[in-house]
C-alpha cells in the first residue's frame, strides 16, 4: 500500500486540440521504492497576516529528501490570494480555490515555507488555508 497523488489537467479550448493530462505518482522515499511514511496530516489555518508567516519549518533532517507539500487556498473570494515563499524566494500566488503540490528540499533551516495573505484586510475576512506535508525527515517537524 502507498500514498498516491494524482493530477488531472483538462481543457477543451485552451489550445487547438484538447489538453488531457492525467498522472499518478506514488510517494516514495528519496532514491528508492520504499513508501513515504510520515505526514503532518491535513491541517487548516486561518490567515490574516499580510507579511510572511511560517507554515512549515525546514529541518536539517529533511535536507534533500523527497518531501512533498500540498497547500490550498480555501477562500471563496476570487481576489484573495496567498503568496507562497521559500527562503525569501517567492514561488507564486495561490488565488481562491487554487492549490499546489511541490517537492520541498529543506536545503537548510532557512528554507521554511512561508505564506502571506498579501491583500488581506480587516474587511476581507480570514483566508482559510489547508496544507499537508508528506516527508521522511528524521526529526519531528515544528508546526506553524
Amino acid at each position: 500500500m502507498a500514498t498516491t497523488a494524482t493530477l488531472t489537467l483538462t481543457s477543451a479550448d485552451i489550445a487547438g486540440d484538447p489538453v488531457n493530462v492525467s498522472k499518478t505518482a506514488t510517494l516514495t522515499k528519496a532514491g528508492g521504492t520504499s513508501n513515504m511514511d510520515q505526514s503532518t496530516g491535513l491541517n487548516r489555518v486561518h490567515l490574516r497576516e499580510t507579511t510572511n508567516v511560517v507554515l512549515l519549518g525546514a529541518v536539517a533532517g529533511g535536507n534533500d529528501l523527497a518531501g512533498k507539500v500540498y497547500i490550498i487556498n480555501k477562500a471563496t473570494d476570487p481576489t484573495l490570494y496567498i503568496t507562497v515563499t521559500i527562503n525569501a524566494q517567492i514561488i507564486g500566488k495561490l488565488y481562491a480555490g487554487q492549490w499546489l503540490f511541490m517537492p520541498w528540499s529543506q536545503t537548510d533551516t532557512a528554507a521554511d515555507i512561508e505564506i502571506a495573505a498579501t491583500n488581506w484586510s480587516s474587511t476581507t475576512g480570514d483566508i482559510p488555508v489547508e496544507y499537508c506535508l508528506f516527508h521522511e525527515d528524521t526529526k519531528i517537524l515544528p508546526d506553524a
Binding site: S11, A25, Q89, W104, A111
Partner: protein, 236 residues
C-alpha cells in the same frame, strides 16, 4: 475564454491510522478573476544529457519573461525517469525548491518576477552613402541610400536575435529580448561596426542597464545520462 481544470487527488490507506483521501479541483483563472487563463506553452518534453566527465549544468525551463509578473501562472513538471534514484532538482532563481524523483510530478503557481531589459538608442547621423554598412548582433545593414532616416528604418526592419527595435526618425531604440544584468549595453555599443565612405556615425545617445530576473525556473538532473522531464506552463 478558455476553461482549464486542475484536479489533485491524494489517497492513502495506510500512511495514517485512518484513511487519507481528499480531492481538490479548481479552474485556472487569471489573477483575481473568474476569467480562464488563455495561454499555454503546450505539453513539452526536455531531455538532459551530459558527457560523463563534464559538469552537469542547469537548464532553464521557463524564463520570467515568458509570463506576466505576479500573474496566476501555473507550472506542471513530471520526471519521466523510471530509475528510482534519478531526480531533477527544481530551482526558482537560485532557491532550491525540491527534488522530483522518478515518476514524481509537481504543479505550482509561479509569480514570474522578472528583471528589466537593457535598452539603448543609436542615432544615424552625419554623411552616409549608398553601400555603407552598419553591423550589430550578427546582423548587417547595407545602406540603400544616404538618408539617415532611411538607414534607421532599414535597421528597424531587421530581426535581431537578441534585441527588438523601434524607430523614430534617425534614432533606433534597441530593447533586449530578455531581462538580464549582464552589462550587454556596454558590449553592444562597442560591437556596432560601421563601414562608411563618408563621416557617418551611429553613436549611442542613451542607454539603460538591465536588472537580473528573479524567478526563472531551472532544473538540474542528478545524472549525466539522459533523463527526460515533461512540463507545461499555463500563463497570463
Amino acid at each position: 475564454m478558455a476553461t482549464t481544470i486542475a484536479t489533485i487527488s491524494l489517497t492513502s490507506t495506510d500512511l495514517l491510522s485512518s484513511a487519507l483521501a481528499f480531492t481538490s479541483t479548481n479552474p485556472l483563472n487569471t489573477a483575481g478573476s473568474a476569467t480562464g487563463i488563455t495561454q499555454t506553452s503546450g505539453l513539452a518534453r526536455t531531455t538532459t544529457s551530459y558527457s560523463g566527465s563534464g559538469v552537469i549544468e542547469s537548464t532553464t525551463l521557463y524564463r520570467s519573461d515568458d509570463a506576466t509578473a505576479n500573474g496566476a501562472n501555473k507550472v506542471y513538471l513530471k520526471n519521466l525517469s523510471t530509475t528510482a534514484a534519478e531526480y531533477y532538482t527544481v530551482f526558482i532563481d537560485e532557491e532550491e525548491m525540491g527534488r522530483l524523483y522518478a515518476g514524481d510530478w509537481a504543479f505550482f503557481p509561479w509569480s514570474a518576477t522578472s528583471g528589466t531589459k537593457e535598452t539603448f538608442i543609436t542615432t544615424i547621423a552625419s554623411t552616409w552613402a549608398a553601400g555603407d554598412t552598419w553591423e550589430f548582433d550578427g546582423i548587417e545593414v547595407v545602406a540603400a541610400n544616404g538618408t539617415v532616416n532611411d538607414i534607421a528604418a532599414q535597421i528597424d526592419a531587421k530581426h535581431f536575435p537578441n534585441w527588438t527595435t523601434t524607430v523614430s526618425g534617425a534614432a533606433v531604440t534597441f530593447t533586449a529580448r530578455h531581462a538580464m544584468d549582464a552589462g550587454t549595453v556596454v558590449t553592444a555599443t562597442a560591437d556596432v561596426v560601421i563601414d562608411t565612405a563618408g563621416s557617418g556615425t551611429a553613436n549611442v545617445s542613451s542607454a539603460a542597464m538591465g536588472t537580473a530576473t528573479e524567478s526563472d525556473i531551472m532544473i538540474i538532473p542528478s545524472v549525466h545520462t539522459a533523463m527526460t522531464l515533461e512540463h507545461m506552463l499555463f500563463h497570463e
